[in-house]
């Protein structure tokens, strides 16, 4: 079945069975391997992408369900060191990345969440990322990074990425 969607700002068309997981369509048909599989059953958030602005575990979504939708993956954030989003840079400077396997999903969650709640407490950030498992960091530096970005965006309002 032909399915079209707007992926990272570009119209893409794929010919896949409608039940194919969005995760697999992204990774295999669109070669967007930044989105990861950690469990395949909605528990870890490694596969998390934005679908029409909502954070969604792409392992639980059939490609047929996203016909015409706008999708953002980690590849849509930046592709060169100069273009990194404030969250991507903060993840690096605050040590929020270790193995990096949870990072793409974690970044997408953070981007979506800060748009929804621009001035969160640390506990709220913890709650917001509680669907994204990270086995390396103990989460604290991820919270540090997201909090720092929220604070900076408050003091230097500008176009939020």
């Amino acid at each position: 079945m032909n399915i079209w969607m707007i992926v990272n700002g570009e119209r893409r068309e794929v010919d896949v069975p409608p039940m194919k997981r969005l995760l697999d369509t992204l990774r295999e048909d669109l070669n967007l391997t930044g989105t990861k599989e950690g469990c395949g059953e909605g528990e870890c958030g490694a596969c998390l992408v934005l679908v029409n602005g909502q954070a969604v575990n792409s392992c639980l979504v059939a490609t047929g369900q996203v016909q015409g939708a706008e999708i953002w993956t980690v590849e849509g954030l930046a592709s060169s060191p100069e273009e990194l989003t404030d969250l991507q840079s903060a993840f690096l400077t605050y040590g929020a990345v270790q193995c990096g396997f949870c990072t793409p999903g974690m970044l997408m969650t953070a981007h979506a969440y800060l748009r929804h709640n621009p001035d969160p407490t640390r506990d709220q950030i913890r709650e917001a990322i509680s669907g994204n498992l990270c086995r390396c960091t103990g989460y604290q530096k991820i919270v540090d990074a997201i909090e720092a970005v929220a604070k900076r965006r408050q003091t230097e309002p500008g176009e939020a990425p």
């Binding site: 295999e28 989105t35 469990c39 592709s79 193995c99 990096g100 390396c136 960091t137 103990g138």
Partner: protein, 758 residues
């Protein structure tokens, strides 16, 4: 100098925040097949034959069984006991028996259902306590993988003169590593009959050493390349050898690349976990609460095959008595075989089990004496000049007192502990605080490092910099960044000039396994040695080219100087790279500590340096729901030197959370030899909501032969949270919990029991 001690952002970070880092499942090769494993459904059985459904069309499926193995059917590590594919006998549930591969994954799944293992069931052995005397034989005559006895002084004699003898029994379950990237490899057959393996792993050379005898190939025909590794924690220490063996057998039979990436369920169901078991303590104490004699018995369940279990047992035995002064100690440690999936390496490597036993036991001693947990530890901590369990005298770099005092002060331990002792019994929310200390030796045990003889190469690059080549991997812990910092400082050059290509056995020497908290302490030192050797080599070449005496050239401030000339490192590197081709320098491990070790008696210098840690945890326990909530965590860790404080904090926070999970949340349940909660849905690990911000203090008591004084770090933080958390929950509940994880179910059961008993 410049970079050591700085919180440099990780040098491999860009690929990781943009999705460009390539993990094994992101690779797709032309003509690639997908592999799958046919596994036993019984814990113990005779394998009569494999039945391939004659009515199924097998034409597009590659099939492999034990008869396809060209060499010896074993995954060699400590023993030759574990077959790559079971033959004749099945010894645990989910044991690999046959392999299939196909380009179409759906067809692969269908094909799997058309394979039947014809077996005759045998009686299984599940209880490790029965292993030694059981009629059922899994390993040798007595199912004993390893027994270690440590004797120091005269424990039975000293016990007699004790003012009081305190006994206790401590139990612990399996723990799953739960790296978020599951295990995976791709095997690519070569035209010369050789093979290349790309995969997620900790020890490329373990894979190499396992594959050569299995395939009957010389080492030069087997090449292992590590892909970006999404967490490992010990879980990717030995198992990748098994997975690689499977993918390689399929690749060699089909002549095509074969990818095998486990899904989560398979990963949990079949890969090795932290050893479950029991530790029994008997301790003689004098009137002042000093330890006079310690007798410790350790029993760990190794599962059906040996894997790394003897080494895990060694760590546990050495740490069994804790970081305490005691002249009379007797440890009897056993690792036994049962019909269960093999246990294996997990961060801490016997340390968390040992720490759980001895730290809970110290709490029990404190209770019997009516002193606080802090006070009993203060009275008994090891100090410089004391000897450890193995008789090793501590000469320097002992930060145990400092870490304990820091934690006690920051957590306000004494006051809170006292206050919680007197909280009203009937409150719904009750509080508790717990404390633990531990030590962890860096590097391989005893003469292990000398035997490993690790090597590191530094090479000039075409960009006027250097690249570091060795088998130690980056698995998230920060190896790339730390090695870059060490090399940049040793050479006096910019960090950007240092490259850290992923380990590839064809181009990188063996620097030993990425394990045992040895990568910074041992291999990091070799990076700095190799840098010195590289400077010497460059000086030699420059002297030849300039026609001057060797000693006319000296190096400083990032440049070579002679006869009024100043040649910056980068220019020299480019010049030599162009004129001489490959310029490489190597450093190899030498024992600078004069270690003396007897592997038979476990006497002597067990580790070149120990790291020390203390932790306090507070909980609030809801007596109605039995849910404990962690409200505070304070940890102080003496690691010699923080090469990269940001990364060190990250290691401590991450490792601590794994230890907290071990104490009160994480449980892999087993029924009849099979893991039953093999999904993330019910095999839980902590989320961001399960822990508050942790307060971490880094203490630096340098080890003179570590790079800039650094000691081991990786495992230390995981060793000690569990007993502290169990202690906190015990205080809150008003009952002693000596078995982990202390889950709400366990708390509820205990509270009900208590009420009935009352």
């Amino acid at each position: 100098m410049g970079f050591i001690g700085q919180s440099i952002p990780r040098t491999d970070g860009f690929g990781k925040v943009t999705g460009q880092a390539t993990f094994v499942d992101d690779l797709c090769l032309p003509d690639m097949l997908f592999g799958a494993t046919i596994r036993s459904d019984e814990p113990h059985a005779r394998l009569e034959r494999i039945e391939w459904d004659p009515d199924f069309d097998w034409s597009s499926i590659v099939r492999v069984d034990a008869s396809d193995i060209p060499g010896r059917n074993a995954i060699f590590l400590e023993q030759w006991d574990q077959p790559a594919l079971a033959q004749d006998v099945i010894r645990h549930h989910a044991e690999p028996v046959a392999l299939i591969a196909c380009a179409d994954r759906e067809l692969l799944e269908t094909a799997r259902k058309h394979v039947t293992l014809v077996t005759r069931p045998l009686d299984p052995l599940f209880d490790p306590e029965e292993a030694l005397t059981s009629e059922i034989k899994i390993f040798g005559e007595d199912n004993l993988f390893k027994q270690i006895e440590i004797e120091k002084g005269d424990a039975p004699g000293a016990m007699k003169s004790a003012w009081r003898v305190v006994e206790g029994e401590y139990r612990f379950g399996y723990q799953e590593q739960m790296y978020i990237e599951t295990q995976g490899v791709i095997a690519v057959p070569g035209e010369d009959g050789g093979v290349t393996v790309h995969g997620s792993m900790q020890c490329p050379y373990y894979v190499l050493k396992a594959l050569t005898p299995l395939l009957g190939l010389p080492p030069e025909k087997v090449r292992i390349i590590q892909t970006t590794t999404g967490g490992a924690f010990g879980g990717k220490e030995e198992y990748p050898s098994m997975l690689a063996a499977h993918a390689v057998l399929l690749a060699l039979k089909s002549g095509r690349p074969v990818k095998m990436v486990y899904d989560r369920a398979e990963d949990i169901a079949v890969t090795p976990k932290r050893h479950p078991g029991v530790i029994r303590h008997r301790t003689g104490v004098d009137r002042e609460g000093h330890l006079l004699a310690q007798e410790v018995e350790i029993l760990l369940d190794g599962g059906a095959y040996c894997t790394l279990s003897p080494v895990v047992l060694g760590r546990a035995a050495i740490a069994a008595g804790g970081p305490y002064r005691c002249d009379n100690l007797k440890v009897l440690a056993r690792m036994v075989a049962t019909n269960k999936p093999p246990s294996g390496a997990f961060r801490g490597f016997g340390g968390p089990q040992a720490a759980f036993g001895v730290e809970r036991h110290m709490d029990r001693i404190a209770e019997e004496f009516g002193v606080s947990p802090l006070e009993i530890r203060r009275r008994n901590l090891l100090q410089i000049g004391d000897t450890t369990a193995t008789g090793q005298q501590l000469k320097d770099s002992v930060g145990i007192g400092e870490v304990l005092e820091k934690v006690a002060e920051i957590s306000d331990f004494e006051n809170r502990h006292r206050a919680y002792q007197h909280q009203p019994a009937k409150e719904r929310l009750r509080r508790g605080i717990g404390l633990a200390v531990c030590f962890h030796g860096g590097g391989f045990t005893g003469a292990g490092e000398t035997w490993l003889a690790s090597k590191v190469d530094l090479e000039l690059t075409s960009r006027g910099g250097v690249s570091i080549h060795c088998g130690s991997v980056e698995m998230g812990q920060g190896r790339n960044t730390v090695f870059s910092q060490i090399a940049a400082d040793a050479l006096g050059i910019d960090l950007a000039l240092v490259q850290t290509p992923p380990p590839d056995t064809a181009t990188c020497p063996d620097s030993g396994p990425t394990a045992a908290s040895r990568t910074t302490m041992v291999v990091g030192r070799l990076v700095s040695d190799a840098a010195e050797n590289l400077l010497a080599r460059m000086t030699e070449l420059l002297a030849q080219q300039a026609g001057v005496q060797l000693d006319a050239i000296h190096y400083g401030q990032g440049a070579f100087h002679w006869e009024g000339q100043d040649l910056p490192f980068g220019e020299a590197a480019l010049q030599l790279h162009e004129s001489c081709g490959l310029v490489r320098a190597r450093a190899q491990f030498v024992d600078r500590d004069g270690m003396v070790w007897d592997p038979q008696t476990y006497r002597g210098d067990a580790y070149a340096a120990y790291s020390w840690a203390a932790i306090a945890t507070e909980v609030e326990l809801d007596m109605d729901t039995c849910m404990p909530r962690i409200t505070r965590v304070v940890a102080a860790e003496d690691i010699g030197k923080a090469i990269n404080p940001l990364s060190v904090e990250g290691q401590i926070q991450g490792g601590t959370l794994q230890g907290l999970g071990y104490g009160a949340l994480e449980e892999v349940k087993m029924e009849n030899g099979r893991f039953v909660n093999y999904r993330m849905t019910d095999c839980l690990i902590p989320t961001a909501m399960d822990v508050p911000d942790m307060e971490v203090v880094i203490v630096e008591r340098p080890y003179q032969h570590g790079p800039a004084g650094a000691k081991g770090l990786g495992e230390l933080p995981t060793d000690l949270p569990a007993p502290a958390l169990a202690a906190a929950i015990s205080q809150a509940a008003g009952f002693r919990f000596d078995e982990i994880p202390v889950t709400p179910e366990r708390i509820a059961a205990r509270l009900t029991q208590g009420k009935e008993g009352a």
